[in-house]
Symmetry: D2
């Protein structure tokens, strides 16, 4: 086998094109070539496809991938945790790698803000060899220094792809925020990030967790993931009633911690109100620039809020996610989010299913 | 002496009226009657006078007062630090007292958000005995449980009144934010709160401190208080140039910590930009509701900011302030802010001088 | 009914004496008289009985009590959370009350170190009216300012008494230490404090929890409470083997967090070794002075440890405990610890059962 | 010039030998060859010389060095802060480099505990080319990935060498401990680490700082560095009196923070007593294993202490130190510690002067 298929984004808002690229004849030391087992479609992929983020084309999308090792470059003998790596091992990896040396990496310990950081499925053009830098393809090339993790046998591929980058994003965000034992938590939103934030909050010691969102089938999932209360946006339509509902569920005070997983500017203003005085607010859903909203900074001063932002995740979060998923499959059935499988030839359909919110999560399974 | 004079706010936006009230014949146990030595005019007093905050009239303004003990109620023998109290001692006190028992006081340790909290000079009408609940008067009544501090002899009255409630507000705010050793800091604003924040930041381990504000005479004060750089709003008039200036002074990254001491909504948006990625932002100046501003929450997520609000202060902050002022009079000459003295009969003029920004700080010194 | 029975410690190491005391004719404002429903025997009671702690006799032991309101003093209308209180309500309360005003309470926010703090069942002699200051009695007098909590109907009395002061002690200790999400934890000891620490750690986000202790029936309980691994002191008898076992279970590094719940000095030395470099160590079990041990401080420097002590608990910990117990009865069956019931007349037998480690927890149930 | 001189430790407890080694003909990419300007003698060098630490011989000692760039390997164009590097630039560097990839570096963010970490002047034998891995030599070889810092012109070499590794050790230690604004601090010890801890504490916001140590000439230095009080071990000889003195200076409570900079086990026990209840204790001086001491763990529980260890330092600490020294030469005259200069031929004498405590700091200045 000297070539392999990939589904390529060549023009924004146009169908992905099925292309064939040459597989690398030789790997540089420390690199790996892996064979895609399952590639998740992330909501961000929809934004990328629409051209809402500044990326260079042509591009193979996909940054939530599980694969099996096909070839190992010289010197690559162990995964990031020290486990030996061999041909056929099932692996996952961090989609982005930071430089480890710069001001943000080493001085300020904010490696997710490293200016040299680039992500598979987002930041690499595919028209130069070795081409395979995204998940929507039969193979994937992993640069040296990629943080690779050999997956434990008892962790289904669906769990990890179902959790996707939403889970590690939520883990990082909750880490930055800090949930105290038995804190009351409001999660705004019940898309993949909201569900992940719910799971992390519950497992991190939260008391009551209230999820606000929709549509109904997602709120059902939220209940399955342990939400103590759900507030349906289709039923409680005005912000004032939602605030009242939150207060009633939190002894009249508001929540200790609010986790914003929506990405709509108005949600930011509403979420700050959900906090009790002295409470914490994580603004996690605003990955894209969705514009401004009329906000009163007096709220932050008067309520003595703590507001946190969090961007992407670090390798240790993926490490923790793998162990977490392995041990909590019953409480947090992330594998159930994988609701529809597509062959690589139907990558367009997979992407549209996500764009239309038809599914919790669609995935690509190369034949 | 059975009566004493007070300057009373009877109607918003109207001149204060000089009134005479009966002094209490007897003190309840734990209370004190003190004779005003100096009362500061705070910027908040101007807002109160204009009716911009919800208070009940008639009202004796003044919550930054130094006085001498005239009479002590039964059982009041020591100040909050355990020092003995006697007639003639010079004292200061926290203007507000929290209940110590409620959800915010005891459960969440946010006593400044105690719903029963009331402040001298703001929250007590003066038409009921014992009347004297504000600084603009010859005497002041201190309820039982007021946190009284006997002042050390080597601390001039002008230092404490010059620092006013701005200093303890800044101490609380910086405590909540946390400045790491050698952090670069931007202070937005150089009114009393800005100068106090500068002093606290410098003495709390900050590296470079940049003050942005005006007018010139206040920036000169900022330099005297140790500002490493000042940016004059009258000279650098557009936000873009100011951002560039801050970046240039911080290695291109922005500040580790930004302290907002302005109270104008637009400053909030600008300050968030001054932060480096992963930086901290204290929103301290928004005591009054000054309306909304167009804000993009994406900034918080992308830059991984930490944003903090802080409201008022606790007794321990006044305790620390007294010790701090005593030991750092040379580095931080707060006494120089007391630029004009007025007798009680000219309380209106004192207030107008603050309203017109003619002085750093005007004070009332009853004859 | 004008008198009631109590079991009184009159001489150390001698049988408790059944005495009759007068019930108060009238309650002071804010106080309450409650009728004992169940009183737990704590391990500390055994130390008190042996005279190993400095207390004044005669004394009614018992600081883990659930009771029903018999009479309410004037003004006592709500519990600490704001719920209305009425005759017949089932309640619990914090055994100790801090002054709220002193250096440790208000300045340093360490109310458990308040020098005026006194605890029911420990710090009040019973030979002065109103006598009833301990749990081993038919009634209990609650001073004004006692933090009373009305118990929810779906929380069995056995849960709260079974958890006892061990649970709130553990909650406070873990709060001071901070367990990060998915941290590996070692619990040294599986008495009441060890089991409680296990429950708090598991519910606070810990990953793997390893319990080291004995005897076997307690390790069985530990497994029931969710311990991922147990190490039986009767089987792994030397410290070196235990260290090796812990390392093997933690990737070779040692635990992120070690919780000492033993109280024997040698355990302190061993526990420091269980920590990974940069790990955290909570020294929670050393309530009594059990003497010294040969310790090498170099360990703290070289391993970059963080070591925390924690003393007793605050009202908010009891509040959280009540809610926690109510919601997690299945995962953490504290009620099963209540293994034997005694009438007040057999208080001696109840105490001896604890002294001899015959039971997990014995309790007194006045007829 | 093809060879250069170095003073070599060939046998423990024997005089260093002056040797000549070949300079490298060519540098590997990213490496640098620098010419020693001044090399500090650290107290650790004395321990190394005595064979008290496990190192391999032969060894060129010296890990506190300032030098000028002689040659630059391919690709080494900028220092760690992004400043351009050129021949002749005066530089300093971190003596140890961590791997950046392992469990401690990347997962737990404790890079000073990286198992692959090796330090110049300690961890490299000099019998293999390029030989020059320590400060006691005319030249020094810097491996690729060494964190190099170009020194600002207004920072005297004596300041940095005088501060030595003591300063960056103290910076790291105080960072881990956290000194709150106006905290009272006790520093145990007034050797180089104690003086550095004093300087960092004062500049980090401490209120009163009390230094305990000797001999007199060092306590004089401590006063020069801003100590508010000194306690002379030669005058206050018993631990009880010292504890009383500390309590008297801290309102009867003990210090908020105690910094141990001694390295003698008995000091650990004494220091824990100096803390107020709920206070913090940094065990910083125990770099060598100096054996055990009888310690009572009950102290940690009862006093609710927080005890921290800290090991070595990270590149960001050196970066901060350089900026700090540059800006605070008047307040903290570290250059004055450089009390005697020796040519490379008299390295033995330089070392003995430190061993005999004759000087604050001796240094080697190759001709």
């Amino acid at each position: 086998m000297t070539t392999a298929k990939a589904s390529v984004l060549e023009q924004f808002n146009q169908p992905l094109q099925l292309r064939e690229f040459a597989l690398p004849a030789q790997l540089e030391p420390g690199a790996a070539l892996v064979r895609t087992e399952m590639a998740g479609i992330c909501g961000t992929d929809v934004h990328l496809w629409k051209g809402q983020l500044p990326v260079a084309l042509p591009l193979i999308l996909g940054h939530e991938t599980v694969a099996r090792i096909e070839r190992l470059g010289a010197g690559l003998e162990r995964d990031w945790t020290g486990q030996p790596l061999k041909i056929g091992d099932r692996v996952a990896w961090n989609s982005a790698v930071s430089c480890g040396q710069c001001y943000y990496c080493a001085e300020k310990r904010q490696p997710t803000r490293c200016p040299q950081r680039r992500a598979y499925g987002i930041g690499y053009r595919c028209d130069q060899p070795p081409h395979f830098f995204g998940g929507y393809a039969e193979f994937h090339y992993l640069w040296p220094r990629t943080h690779i993790f050999r997956l434990p046998d008892d962790l289904p591929t669906e769990s990890l792809v179902g959790a996707g980058c939403a889970l590690i994003t939520a883990i990082h965000g909750v880490e930055r925020t800090g949930i105290a034992w038995r804190d009351n938590v409001v999660v705004q939103g019940c898309g993949p990030v909201g569900l992940a934030a719910l799971a992390v909050a519950k497992s991190a010691g939260a008391g009551k967790v209230i999820v606000i969102g929709g549509p109904k089938h997602r709120l059902e999932l939220a209940k399955k993931f342990g939400a103590d209360h759900v507030i349906d946006l289709d039923e409680v339509r005005d912000a004032k009633s939602r605030l009242e509902a939150v207060r009633q569920l939190t002894g009249g005070y508001g929540a200790d911690v609010v986790l914003e997983c929506v990405g709509i500017p108005a949600a930011f203003v509403e979420g700050a109100e959900f906090c009790r005085d002295g409470g914490k607010y994580l603004v996690l859903g605003h990955y894209c620039d969705a514009g401004t909203v009329a906000f009163n900074p007096h709220v932050i001063t008067r309520k003595q809020l703590q507001v946190f932002g969090s961007w992407s995740s670090e390798p240790r979060h993926l490490r923790a996610a793998i162990e977490f998923l392995r041990r909590t499959q019953k409480e947090f059935p992330f594998h159930e989010l994988v609701s529809r499988r597509y062959p690589i030839e139907q990558a367009n359909e997979a992407l549209q299913a996500m764009a239309n919110w038809q599914v919790a999560k669609s995935v690509i399974v190369p034949a």
